[in-house]
């Protein structure tokens, strides 16, 4: 069994960190993992794609994920663009940051089958006073698709961010985990 996750956001928002945190948590649970980015232009604000693979057996494949089990869209403006252009990634599960715009989440649900949403921008602004939505989006994803436990994610977050910033990130994961909801029309 292999799970494939696709992450989409903008450079600086923590796409790569999110893809690695999920992999690190799975590694703590004894799984085989792979987390890798796909860069466009290397500029702050440019769209960045990230991928995570989690498997019970060693992972041989080394190519980008085209049919993800879950697609996580971290940036509200990118999400809006994808909805308007009809280019939402196809995935069994879509997890989005609606940034407070619940109608946007519903627009995603009208196209994709199973959608979970969270206001990661709001959580991030409340805790960090800026938009770094990686840890909240990881929290929302594992609520919608419990591939790793919340405890493992928290452990991976504290390993990655020691000290006070780690505690704040754990708070962000928990808040998103608690407030993420499935979108129903």
């Amino acid at each position: 069994m292999m799970w494939e996750i696709f992450w989409l956001g903008r450079a600086g928002q923590g796409v790569i960190t999110a893809s690695r945190l999920l992999a690190s948590a799975a590694l703590l649970e004894g799984k085989h993992v792979q987390a890798f980015p796909q860069f466009g232009a290397e500029r702050l604000g440019a769209p960045v794609k990230g991928y995570t693979r989690i498997s019970e057996t060693p992972i041989e494949i080394h190519s980008a994920i085209s049919k993800p089990d879950a697609a996580v869209i971290m940036d509200v403006s990118l999400l809006r663009g994808l909805v308007q252009s009809g280019n939402l990634p196809k995935a069994k599960l879509t997890v989005v940051n609606h940034g407070g715009d619940e109608e946007l989440a519903k627009a995603v649900r009208r196209v994709n089958p199973k959608v979970w949403a969270v206001n990661a921008t709001g959580i991030s602004m409340g805790i960090f006073q800026r938009v770094i939505v990686n840890t909240p989006m990881v929290g929302a994803l594992i609520k919608a698709m419990p591939i790793v436990s919340l405890e493992s994610i928290e452990k991976a977050v504290l390993n990655r961010f020691p000290g006070a910033i780690g505690e704040k990130n754990v708070e962000a994961v928990r808040k998103a985990y608690e407030s993420a909801e499935e979108v129903v029309l």
Partner: protein, 393 residues
């Protein structure tokens, strides 16, 4: 036994270097440099390793410093990618001609123009004939394992040649995977300090890199050729010893399904995994007679091992991740064609280029390749013997 941790390819190479008790690292720190030397310089700055780190103004200088340090008897490492390797080009030949057992990691990336930072093998293929032992890693674990083995191969008294460990740029260098790392003590036992045969020593003056007239120059070069051919045996011995230590046995190549495969795909680097993954699926779910062959050792070219691995194959698809503009086949395809002539092999050879500038072979494309190969095995005419994978299938 080792511990399993999550590392990016760059970090895994740096971690291996940290454990190999390297005397000197010299590198150019800016683009196209990798995180490898960034991590190594952190280890040095934190006092975690007793390595001299020499930061220089170009890759040409980086490798020149490495040559000097290696001649003084030190264990030496450097890393680069794409344009950086191109700028090192003339010093690559000096390093092998002077028999310096330097180890270098190359993050394989495209060459300009057009500007592109992503993976292909054009950089290494451009320096193919530099006289270094050349290995390619499939994943992050292999990149780590090969660096440790590379020092042992390079410094072996029968070899004394520089060795390059290739890992696919971004696909591996920036990919985090679970890696089983060895304990420091185990690496120390596997890789004792370098014992140079000759070294620059004021108390025992010797000449290195002397002028050689036509009557001697070719003799130096032929000795170099003999040394790289001797490294074949050493690569196998080191791979076996490493296997006893870790459970991961290395060799010159790794075959899957070749005991009865009618169609095999030969490749190097990270794509080998995607190919084997696809072959496994086609064999297990559809019972197709397909196989995958990964070449670990590109130079010296493991002729005998390839001949036995390909014994039963009817169609071989060779994948090249570099163009050889104007040539008959790509670099790897040409080698296989030569092998067929020299050893009288009889199978159908298809040679396709793929993955230039970060383009990749997906499992879907790999499946189409295998199916094309199976049709050719039944007697169908292929659309072309050469071409670009994405356009052929």
């Amino acid at each position: 036994m080792g511990r399993r941790i999550g590392l990016m390819g760059d970090e895994a190479v740096a971690y291996a270097v940290k454990q190999c008790d390297v005397g000197l690292v010299s590198a150019y720190p800016i683009t196209p440099q990798t995180i490898m030397v960034e991590r190594i310089s952190e280890y040095v700055a934190n006092g975690e390793i007793d390595t001299e780190f020499v930061c220089v103004e170009s890759e040409h200088s980086a490798l020149s410093v490495c040559v000097g340090a290696s001649l003084s008897g030190l264990r030496v490492f450097t890393a680069t990618a794409s344009q950086g390797l191109a700028l090192m080009h003339e010093v690559l030949y000096a390093a092998s001609g002077l028999r310096c057992p330097i180890v270098m990691a190359v993050a394989n990336r495209a060459l300009s123009a057009p500007l592109n930072i992503h993976c292909d093998h054009s950089d290494m293929m451009g320096s193919r004939d530099c006289g270094w032992v050349q290995v390619f890693a499939e994943n992050v674990q292999e990149a780590y394992d090969w660096v440790i083995q590379a020092f042992k191969i390079a410094e072996h008294p029968d070899v004394q040649l520089p060795t390059v460990v290739n890992l696919d740029g971004f696909t591996l260098t920036h990919c985090m995977e679970d890696v089983e790392v060895l304990e420091d003590e185990d690496v120390k036992k596997f890789l004792p300090p370098r014992k140079p045969i000759y070294w620059v020593d004021p108390k025992q003056p010797m000449t290195f890199g002397a002028w050689a007239m036509p009557n001697y120059y070719y003799k130096f070069k032929l000795q170099q050729q003999e040394a790289i051919m001797r490294s074949l045996r050493v690569v196998k011995e080191v791979g076996e010893e490493f296997g006893k230590l870790t459970g991961r046995r290395y060799d010159t190549l790794y075959g899957y399904g070749l005991e009865d495969a009618e169609v095999a795909v030969l490749s190097m680097g990270s794509t080998s995994g995607t190919i084997r993954y696809t072959a496994r699926r086609l064999r297990e779910s559809d019972g197709l007679k397909v196989g995958a062959l990964k070449l670990w050792l590109f130079r010296p070219f493991p002729e005998e091992d390839l001949v036995s691995a390909l014994e039963k194959v009817k169609v071989l698809i060779v994948l090249d991740r570099a163009l050889s503009p104007g040539a008959v086949f790509g670099p790897l395809g040409s080698d296989i064609a030569s092998l067929m002539v020299k050893h009288g092999l009889d199978f159908k050879l298809l040679n396709y280029t793929y993955g230039l500038g970060g383009d990749e072979v997906t499992p879907e494309m790999a499946e189409k390749l295998f199916k094309l190969g199976l049709k050719v095995a039944e007697g169908a005419k292929p659309p072309s013997l050469t071409g670009y994978v994405r356009e052929v299938v």
